[in-house]
Symmetry: C2
Subunit: 142 residues, 2 copies
Amino acid sequence: MKIKLLLSALLMITCLAGFSQEKQSRKAKKNSSAVSEKGLIKVSVMYPFAEGKTFDMQYYETKHMPMVAGFLGSNLVKYTIEKGTASGIPNTPLPFMAIGCFYVKDLAAYQAAIGPNRDAIRADFPNYTNVSPVILVSEVIK
Amino acid sequence: MKIKLLLSALLMITCLAGFSQEKQSRKAKKNSSAVSEKGLIKVSVMYPFAEGKTFDMQYYETKHMPMVAGFLGSNLVKYTIEKGTASGIPNTPLPFMAIGCFYVKDLAAYQAAIGPNRDAIRADFPNYTNVSPVILVSEVIK
């Protein structure tokens, strides 16, 4: 009788210890992935601001970006969207109205996925903007 | 005897079920925090490429960015560094050699922290580059 009770208690302690360890390792993984995409390739599509240029953020966020992201498959780690609000240097114009970024594992795979869909992507531009984007390919350092 | 065994088995099942649920909820939380800094203010310091312009990434990563990050205190959520490698549009020059970004909770607090240190920050520029940066303030949409 006592042995059974002891075994039950032991089982419970082992189980809870495993539970707590799992919790800590998840926490560590979560923090490291939240602060850095180090080593990934980042493709930034930047829409310059100029007088008379327009940008429909709602269309971009709900239609255009999900469409392009859909072409990229499992090579895409995440994508981001930002809305330019001001220049950080006084008395200079806003540099970009909006920037969309794709974080991918492999540049060649990105190019292979975009290539056959380039016309569809470009044909969608007039639905949300009248400016041609600047595109930067970069390596995430930190 | 049989009741004790049954209780042990029940305890183990309950414990494992809790464990598995915790695992799933961690996973969901991890994914959501890794993919978005939604709502934060992003200050991007962008170094344009041009013939004869230079950029010392090692100094920037190990000295300049940690110094500026140190001025921002708890308002700073994270900062990132990327190295421009190519233009994404064929036959056009590299738009930026490097970009450093600060993700902060509050723009006024950012400006209040940078203001008194602006001279120190600018005085450090020649240690790693001979180009003046473009600075974009933006709002993280996704």
